[in-house]
Amino acid sequence: MRDFLKFFIILFFGMQIQHAAAIETIEILGGKANQIPIAVTPFDEQTLAAQKQPQKINQIIENDLIRSGLFDILNTGGVSSYPRNADEVNYSNWSAIQAQFLILGQIVSDTKSNTMEVKWSLVDIYKQNVVLSLVLKGRPSQYRAIAHKISDTVYEKLTGTKGVFHTKIAFVKKKAKDSYALYVSDYDGFNQRAIVKSKKPIISPRWSPNGEKIAYVSFEKEKPVIYIQNLVSGQRILLANFKGNNSAPAWSPDSKKLAIVLTYSANSQIYIINEDGTDIKQLIRTYAINTEPAWAPNGEEIFYVSDRGGSGQIYKINIKTLETKRVTYEGNNNLSPSLSPDGKLLLFISQKDRKYRVALQNLLNNQYLTLTEGPHDESPLFSPNGHMILFTYKDYGKTSKIGTVSINGLTKTPINVGSETILESTWGPITN
């Protein structure tokens, strides 16, 4: 009987092993920085509002997706007919131009009620099905906002990350030697309006993570002082006017505190202060310059620049334990640190051979790479979803401009806000 059982058991397990060994395994390591091929056909719109717009909905969506660096926008010029809704899609037309996805839509406007209705769809050309079909309603003045909303929805669906095409940026324009202004605009530079005007320089604008306020450094008192301005009310408070310089405001992730730099008649040192100006505490004191603080998203560490090693390099300090560690070693000079929203990437300016370039360091494995060529790139900041970087750039002897570079380094796009010099910029948070 025992042999009997033994036989069956061996046979049974023998078969299991057989079954498992029958399938070959192939390991595929790594991948490519591919762009998703997508086409955006002109929407079917015969509205008066559309005619006044400098850009059509499909162009706004295309520009958004191009700027992100994750999409390859296909030219729809060669396609014979543009579908107005998902039922009219001729899949072979679109797979012929190698599209994987298609965005299409229709706009209907009602002049009496002054509304416009946009019906749009995202279609998967490969699987031949409709991924999304939605309706957006708004006033004609919200034409661009609706286009950005479509871009955001598509972006989130295909990449799993929230889109930032609805967000705002702020930047300082120098119009003349004695004319400076802080502007707020759409992230792509449209709809700009000034919120502060001054005869003296304004630098280091910083948008609070909760979106309510912007801190900035103003020279209107003949020396650098820090203001915090409420974006809704337009009211501002003087956050710091201590003896010496007051500069480099950096918001904590919960928008309740700021790290700032005071000189107090000596070299720059870093302090932490409440956002209402109370309770200032010194964090760092060394012989060297300590400046440009940037909070880690977990609120526990502050990254900053110090020249204690001879030239500016980036260090980090644990706010509670005060443990300090050097972070950057490449290049001659590393300045202007900021952190990605997930805290894994350090963004900064790296100088080599007197050229200043935007650089990234992976904090998990310390891999370092440069994203731009310079020669004078400055003030890099992440978009609120960490996929794009806003920065200012200038060529030798020319005016500074702002632009974005996608985090994969593939797409650099200027932001057109006029011909004046742009000093510095900041990015507002995701609000939907």
Partner: protein
């Protein structure tokens, strides 16, 4: 079995029973194992019929149309030039008239002939076209039958291979004999370097399409997919995700990469193909290559 029954012996009866049970057991297990391994449902045959025209793109096997046997239209009647006779005017006129009428008649007849011939031509052409269509349909049918046969063959070969493997790996005190019915050659030694070559080709093609940007930064992000291929290199059905990366956009990007890579390079030789028909694909998009 029969001559054992003749001995009145308890031990023999036991052995008897034992042998019987073994045979039954083996039989059951044979069936069981076949059912167990039948991952590929027989209705694959039906799917073949439906998918061949759209998914697979076989080389068009349309024979060139046979050279059309077109009858040349009869040459127009030659009007002979008769020598000019001097005759009286009236007669000449009459004759002229008659000649003209004849001419006309002949022309009409010629036209009618032409028309008839054209009709014939068209009919011929129609017939030819229909014949061609029939031929195409017949050829398609043949192709499909061939493919079905291939599939059947492969499945049978697998069955046999399974049984043989099972038998080889048993460690028994008694070794009952099982008759193997097979009219096929037993699957012999594998050509492992050929297999490795195709695995590398498949790996390279899929790798080109993996968009790792959608997979975050963690170096040990891993995904596992299982796919089943047709001899054409296309997937038989949707790929199956056995291990997710925990990032939805990454899962979708890798699934898209697999779809985009069709048709995958697979060997045409049926024995080799059967080794690669079922594949487990393990992805680590953020691994440093």
């Amino acid at each position: 079995m029969f001559f054992y029954n003749q001995l009145e012996n308890n031990y023999n009866t036991q052995a008897n029973l034992f042998t019987l049970l073994i045979h039954v057991g083996l039989f059951i297990f044979m069936i069981f194992s076949i059912q167990w391994n039948m991952q590929v449902p027989y209705y694959a045959e039906v799917e073949l019929w439906d998918t061949i025209p759209t998914q697979t793109k076989p080389a068009p096997i349309v024979k060139k149309p046979e050279p059309k046997k077109i009858k040349k239209p009869a040459p127009p009647p030659v009007i002979k030039q008769e020598p000019i006779k001097v005759e009286r005017d009236a007669e000449i006129q009459l004759k002229k008239k008659k000649a003209a009428e004849l001419k006309k008649k002949k022309e009409i007849e010629a036209l009618q002939k032409k028309l008839q011939e054209q009709e014939k031509l068209e009919q011929l052409q129609k017939q030819l076209l229909e014949q061609e269509k029939l031929k195409q349909v017949q050829e398609k049918l043949k192709e499909q039958e061939k493919l079905e046969q291939l599939q059947k063959q492969l499945l049978e070969q697998e069955k046999i291979a399974q049984i043989q493997k099972e038998l080889r790996e048993k460690d028994l005190s008694e070794k009952p004999r099982v008759a193997i019915e097979s009219n096929q050659d037993v699957l012999g030694g594998t050509d492992s370097s050929e297999l490795a070559k195709y695995k590398t080709l498949i790996q390279q093609k899929i790798h080109q399409n993996v968009n790792k940007q959608l997979c975050g930064l963690e170096p040990d992000t891993t995904l596992v997919f299982k796919i089943t291929l047709m001899p054409t290199g296309y997937l038989l059905s949707d790929s199956k995700m056995l291990q997710s990366s925990k990032i939805a956009s990454c899962d979708e990007a890798v699934e898209r990469a697999i779809l985009q890579s069709q048709p995958l390079p697979v060997p045409t030789e049926s024995r080799l193909f059967s080794r690669l028909k079922d594949l487990e694909l393990k992805f680590q998009p953020n691994a440093i290559q």
